[in-house]
Amino acid sequence: MIKVYDIYKTYGGNSPALVDISMDVKPGEFVFLTGPSGAGKSTLLKILYLWEKFDRGQIIVHGINVLKIKEENLYALRRKIGVVFQDYKLLSHKTVFENVAFAQEILETAPGSIRFKTWEALKKVGLTHKKDSYPLELSGGEQQRVAVARAIVNSPAILLADEPTGNLDPIIAIEILRMFEKANQQGMTVIFATHSREMLDAGNHRVVGLNRGRVVTS
């Protein structure tokens, strides 16, 4: 599903962000991406969700070489990828329902099915009772559940999570992990970045470890 070959990325400083990273994630696989802060987890994820460019190497996502796609057509590939961030990136002026619906509106989904799909996604994360609340009225765990609902509502083939449990207490964090596992059981390929030992222990999945921009365990 995702093939990464010798990716090299630098922001111009003394030490590059990523050095010759290679990894292969199979369809339907759940992979933990781990490593200390500054290891390059976020950079690698940003490259995978096509937000950052890289200096060298090749990446194949969903069978498509990202270097071969024209800039204006990147959106088509992004639609196959759902992303969850540590800081949730929820829109504070929209309700829970509107935040999840927004992800479909911008893909120009027919208005009739937006309501149904949003409701289904909120049901999956157990937040239907909070549909009219605003993000700032929710706890951190609830906000992250909204973010997960928004990421899965368009049924992407790949789900990328950048430290989605970094701000949450361990019990809530494991609840969130289970949601990703559920999405994985439904067929989504998941890459879950975390630096938490507890999370790695709580899920029995392959671990790709990074340190100073290099793969140290795979």
Binding site: K89, I106, E108
Partner: protein, 305 residues
């Protein structure tokens, strides 16, 4: 069709939200466009009226051919033939020496001392030639004057050519000036609108980034901002046209009678409808262009890292 309609409805909704969120900056942008286009509109108003004045003058210009007192019958007939054969001439009037003298006396009836000091009729006979209205009217007069000048029996010619030529040259300068001012103002406006839209984009940066991340089509993201700029241009131009119209009405009310008494047939005109449409279209285009610059800059600096 339905999808396109839906797309535009969504874009319009998004545009409206953008404007509502950035009410103050949008207002500043609209006000700037309105002021700039009012300045342009006023220049245009002046130009339109000066052009009309030139046309009125042109229309009133006639070629007066003064004849020598001792002109022979043959010479006069030859002149008459030349006049009749010229297709550009609308009408010609022969004014004999006596008719000229009578008119002079009538005009200066209150100045008895002038009439008394003149012991004989010093006025020559003349042909007053009225030319047809056309674009090359002045040129026709010039050309025919050159022909008549060479004829025997002609004393002198008069048609105020230098005056009109100078005025026409001034009008060319005015048009160039307007073009230059228009160009500079347009450039300034593009930059101002571009900055306003940039503020609009940055105030919704999170939302715009999310759109890219989730996979919105580029046009889905761009169109609302482009529409926002175009709407600013449209509203700014409409305000400007209203301001210029108010000034025109004021001038008409205050000065039209004076202008009319100074020059028969002249009145204070408003900018023509096609020119107003051109102004509005230019303003919308400037708004759109400013937005396009802002969106592209955002894409380059924030998205295509």
């Amino acid at each position: 069709m339905n999808q396109t309609l839906q797309f535009f409805l969504r874009a319009a909704r998004s545009t409206f939200l953008n404007i509502r969120t950035n009410r103050e900056t949008s207002l500043v942008s609209v006000a700037t466009i309105a002021v700039a286009f009012s300045i342009l509109g006023l220049f245009l108003l002046v130009l339109v009226n000066l052009s009309a004045l030139l046309t009125t003058w042109n229309r009133q210009v006639q070629l007066i051919v003064y004849l020598q007192d001792n002109i022979s019958k043959v010479e006069r007939t030859r002149l008459e033939n030349l006049i009749v054969e010229n297709p550009d001439i609308e009408s010609s009037t022969f004014v004999s020496r006596k008719m000229a003298w009578d008119k002079f006396k009538k005009t200066f009836s209150g100045k008895a001392e002038i009439l008394q000091s003149l012991e004989f009729n010093p006025l020559p006979a003349s042909f007053n030639l009225q030319f047809k209205n056309s674009l090359g009217r002045l040129e026709s007069i010039r050309r025919f004057a050159a022909v008549l000048e060479r004829q025997s029996g002609v004393e002198s010619l008069e048609y105020g050519e230098k005056w009109i030529s100078r005025f026409a040259a001034f009008m060319v300068f005015m048009r160039l000036f307007l073009l230059a001012v228009g160009g500079l103002l347009s450039l300034g406006l593009v930059l101002i609108v571009s900055n306003t839209i940039k503020l609009s984009i940055y105030s919704r940066k999170d939302e715009v980034e999310l759109m890219y991340l989730i996979g919105a089509r580029p046009r889905f993201i761009r169109v609302p901002f482009l529409m926002e700029g175009a709407i600013q241009g449209l509203v700014g131009a409409l305000v400007a046209v209203t301001i210029v119209k108010c000034i025109h009405l004021y001038m008409k009310f205050q000065f039209e009678e004076t202008v009319h008494s100074l020059l028969k047939g002249a009145n204070i005109q408003f900018i023509s409808f096609p020119l107003i449409m051109l102004m509005i279209f230019a303003s919308v285009f400037i708004g759109w262009l400013g937005s396009l610059l802002a969106v592209n800059q955002f894409m380059i600096s924030e998205v295509k890292k």
